[in-house]
């Protein structure tokens, strides 16, 4: 076809009045006494002097737009419901921002830590962990992080949950001492005045914005509301950590608790930060803002207090904090993107020394992938074997009989998938129809009834049955286009029935087999319901594991990684199929 077309003058599919016009125009140009060689030098021009190609494009643009409008609803639908979720899934399989969002300061501090050292990192990492974890536990986000990290190391979930409860108690004694020393440290109004620097003072709005972003990243909510507070520039300069903690408290109070900042007593974390900074010997001599006197007095007092030590406090809450493993895991999963899910999906794990295979007892996914591919191949093969004769009959029987047969082929489509699968359960189970009949016939002993369900056999039988129409229909539609005269010709040329089938009919039906196989294979590789019901433990597919991670373990990242691998496998197989068989050879009729 294409050869025939290329010899024609028109590039458009069908001649239109415009074509005729252009043709006439170029003809006129020729008539106007142009030299014969002149024309071939430049592009062919239309009557108005624009290049012919451009005028043609313009003429076709309206048609193209109209065509695009017609498919627009479907296109949008596919984009929204298909392309976007797939992109989201691919993103989820590598996304890991939860660690750096929940523990931003800790992650930053951990960067310099050498995981090969024995034990846990030093005090300053624990100090960051305290401030991060305090905020996270206020926002109730620490359990999510615990769940996430628990995928990589068991026990982290409960560690984060229990420490989240205890984090309020760190520095308890020192806070009590502070409040006993001066009652103002319990007064909401005093705190508010101190931190805001009083009326008309210069404000540190940058800090507010920074904390807005931090909280938004932590909770995923919007913190853009007006909170009626901004730290004073002077105090923020003097006591930066306290100001930061108070700002976070202020934002949280207004946005999450819907209270007024000036009427709430600040968090323990704010007081802890104040005590730490005062003890660190901040120079208050130049400060004359609100609460300057109290601050100076308190600084003298806190100097005599026992220092707040975070590391022992965390270890007291749970001694696991002192182990190297936990910190290695946290450090390894600090970056915003991770290969961890994918390594997990192929039975490997991240270690400081690079990816390593998991211990054999923990390996499961590669075996599941292999099983899924193997069983899909078996199912495709048995569909070909069972479907080919049926498709042949459909294509060659007289119309009336063929229609009846076609209804029988389509009948499964009109029955619920669940019903069909459950029916196989009834058929195949040990007290089921087939076993009963075989026992009755004496083929099988009553004591040794065959196990045909909750294993690979059951899955293969049930799925072959369910997917058979997808094999028969494309084969049928291809076979229908093979005229009977080919086989007749072969036989008149001296070929036996078998030879004429094998050398003449079968090669022409291969595109149908190809189309059916692709359809069945791709459907079965992602099949879920049937293996779930009849597969037991040995007959389940990778999709069952994906579903488990989506709905039960809630490890969406791993589910996304498994799904992405499945997608890639299918695409690679499709590509290989195209290379070997050629996708042009696939016909649906």
């Amino acid at each position: 076809m294409s050869k025939l077309k290329s010899t024609g003058q028109q590039t458009a599919d069908a001649p239109t009045p415009e074509d005729a016009f252009h043709e006439a125009a170029t003809y006129e140009d020729r008539e106007k006494g142009k030299a014969p060689g002149e024309k071939s030098a430049g592009p062919v021009l239309a009557a108005d002097g624009t290049p012919l190609k451009r005028s043609l494009r313009r003429a076709l643009r309206v048609q193209k737009m109209r065509a695009l409008m017609l498919i627009a609803p479907l296109l949008i639908f596919v984009l929204v419901t298909f392309i976007a979720p797939i992109a989201d899934m691919l993103f989820r399989s590598v996304e890991n921002q939860i660690v750096s969002n929940t523990l931003p300061n800790t992650v930053e501090k951990l960067e310099g830590w050498d995981a090969s050292q024995e034990g846990a990192p030093g005090e300053e990492v624990f100090e960051s962990l305290y401030s991060d974890l305090f905020l996270a536990s206020e926002a109730k986000e620490h359990t999510r992080l615990g769940t996430r990290l628990n995928y990589e190391q068991t026990g982290l979930s409960s560690l984060f949950r229990s420490t989240g409860r205890d984090v309020d108690d760190i520095g308890e004694d020192q806070i009590d001492a502070l409040e006993d020393f001066n009652e103002v440290w319990e007064e909401e109004g005093f705190w508010f005045n101190l931190m805001s620097g009083g009326q008309g003072a210069e404000k540190d709005t940058a800090l507010v914005e920074e904390q807005r972003r931090r909280l938004a990243a932590l909770t995923g909510d919007d913190y853009d509301a007006e909170i009626g507070f901004a730290p004073g520039a002077a105090i923020s300069d003097l006591l930066p950590r306290t100001a930061r903690a108070y700002t976070a408290f202020a934002l949280f109070t207004v946005v999450d608790d819907e209270d007024v900042v000036a009427e709430e007593e600040p968090w323990e974390a704010v007081k802890v930060a104040l005590i730490r900074e005062l003890r660190a010997g901040v120079d208050l001599s130049g400060y004359d803002g609100p609460g300057a006197a109290e601050l100076r007095a308190t600084q003298d007092m806190v100097a005599d207090l026992k220092p707040i030590e975070f590391k022992p406090a965390f270890l007291a809450s749970d001694e696991d904090w002192g182990t190297n493993d936990i910190w290695t895991t946290i450090q390894m999963y600090s970056p915003p993107f991770t290969s961890g899910y994918f390594l997990n999906a192929v039975d490997m794990e991240k270690t400081p020394q690079g990816p390593e295979a998991r211990p054999e007892t923990q390996q499961i996914y590669l075996m599941l992938f292999e099983r899924t591919l193997f069983m899909s191949l078996v199912i495709t093969g048995s569909c070909i074997l069972l479907g080919y004769p049926v498709a042949w009959l459909l294509a060659n029987l007289p119309m009336r009989t063929a229609n009846l047969l076609m209804i029988l082929v389509l009948l499964p489509f009109w029955t619920s998938l669940l019903v069909r699968t459950s029916a196989w359960k009834v058929m195949l189970q040990q007290q089921g129809v087939i076993n009963d009949v075989m026992v009755w016939l004496g083929i099988v002993d009553d004591a040794s009834r065959l196990v045909m369900i909750n294993n690979q056999f059951g899955t293969i039988v049930a799925m072959t049955h369910i997917l058979l129409p997808f094999m028969i229909l494309p084969m049928y539609s291809v076979m229908q286009t093979i005229p009977p005269s080919y086989v007749r010709a072969a036989r008149s040329l001296g070929a036996t029935n078998w030879t004429s089938f094998w050398r003449v009919y079968f090669p022409q039906s291969v595109p149908g087999i190809g189309a059916g196989s692709i359809l069945v294979f791709i459907l079965s590789i992602g099949y879920y319901i049937t293996p779930e019901i009849v597969g037991g433990t040995t007959g389940t597919f990778i999709s069952n594991r994906i579903a488990y991670h989506i709905s039960s373990s809630l490890n969406w990242g791993l589910a996304a990684a498994l799904g992405s691998i499945l997608l890639v496998v299918v695409l690679v197989l499709y590509w290989a199929y195209d290379k070997i068989v050629g996708i042009d050879n696939v016909k649906l009729g």
Binding site: R491, S492, L493, V504
Partner: protein, 367 residues
């Protein structure tokens, strides 16, 4: 009318009947025998049973009753692939997944012919149809005419003695068809093969065949050489089906000395040669070929009956003039006259007298 069993015949149908549904007969009591080397055409309208006959001969349909003999042996129970009959199909049926050479090689391979022999035979067959350079092409890359030649070469490559052709030229344009008609007949005569050719195109049948069997309603209406068929049709179906034909309805008045006196429906009386009419009073259809009608009485016998006619239309066709006349109350009476220098062009409305030799005017059965 049709041949009966003949032991010398190469192909013979003996009392063959065929029914698909057990209620109606598609082929009714067919008797036909043809000698070796003959080119026989089965001609007839669609549904007349000609293709069914061909398929029975090829072995794709079984005869409901009767016997088909090839070379004296009954072949009813021999499967198609053992009959050794070459066949050219209507749509050529070239195997699309094989090259031209592979297509031709197929019948040789299934006969277990050695490779070198095969190649020689393929080359000879391709050269025979002037397609020697096309061995490596696929059928889809060939034009209709080229595919036709390949189909022919494939049917001939294993040197069958009998070749069946089922409307092989139906899909070609007129010019190519005429050319291929000529080539096929030449090839058949050169190779001395026996050909059964099915067509519904009467020109094709007349120009190509040694004999033509005209089929209608499951029966052979007439089996004869082309000229006999045209000039002496046995019944009015054949007369109507083959070539152009003028008909006039009437009643036999008298049959005497091999001549029938027919009274036309408007009362005029003419002479005709009785063919399948027997007794006075019978209804008859008079058949006269347009080119055998004489205008004026100069060339007719003194006592010949003539008819009055009025010119309705004059059509100039180049080599001939075609004039439509109103005769005996009908206005579809056509005459053809050669465009010779002295031929007069009739004007519409002109009154003329027409007549014919009695032997050109055949009194046939009234349909």
């Amino acid at each position: 009318m049709a041949d009966t069993g003949n032991s010398d015949a190469f192909v013979a149908f003996e009392r063959v009947q065929k029914s698909y549904d057990g209620e109606t007969l598609v082929v009714k009591d067919l008797n036909l025998s043809m000698p070796k080397g003959e080119f026989l055409t089965m001609l007839g309208p669609s549904g007349s049973g000609k293709t069914t006959c061909l398929m029975m001969l090829a072995g794709f349909e079984t005869a409901t009753h009767g016997e088909i003999k090839l070379n004296g042996k009954p072949i009813n129970n021999i499967p198609p692939h053992k009959r050794g009959i070459g066949m050219v199909f209507q749509n050529y049926a070239l195997f699309p997944h094989m090259t031209v050479a592979e297509n031709l090689s197929f019948p040789l391979e299934v006969r277990k012919i050695g490779k070198s022999d095969r190649e020689a035979k393929i080359k000879r067959a391709l050269d025979m149809v002037q397609m020697g350079d096309f061995g490596g092409r696929r059928p889809a890359q060939l034009s209709g005419g080229q595919q036709q030649r390949i189909a022919l070469a494939r049917a001939l490559v294993f040197e069958p003695e009998l070749v069946l052709m089922d409307e092989p030229l139906g899909a070609l344009d007129k010019q190519l068809r005429e050319h291929m008609q000529f080539e096929i007949t030449n090839l058949a005569h050169e190779l001395g093969i026996t050909v059964v050719y099915v067509t519904h195109d009467q020109t094709e049948a007349l120009t190509m065949s040694d004999r033509v069997a005209v089929f209608d309603d499951g029966k052979i209406q007439q089996l004869a050489e082309p000229d006999v068929l045209y000039e002496s049709p046995d019944n009015s179906f054949v007369a109507q089906f083959i070539g152009e034909n003028n008909t006039l309805e009437g009643t036999i008045k008298e049959i005497k000395d091999g001549l029938a006196l027919v009274e036309l429906d408007d009362g005029e009386v003419i002479d005709a040669k009785p063919v399948n009419v027997n007794k006075p009073g019978e209804r008859t259809l008079i058949s006269i070929r347009p080119e055998r009608v004489e205008v004026g009485t100069e060339r007719l016998g003194p006592d010949a009956h003539t008819l009055k006619a009025e010119v309705a239309e004059f059509i100039y066709m180049g080599d001939v003039f075609r004039t439509r006349l109103k005769v005996a109350g009908k206005d579809d009476f056509i005459i053809k006259t050669r465009n010779s220098a002295d031929q007069r062009r009739l004007q519409p409305g002109e009154q003329v007298e027409i007549g014919w030799l009695p032997e050109d005017c055949r009194a046939l059965d009234a349909v």
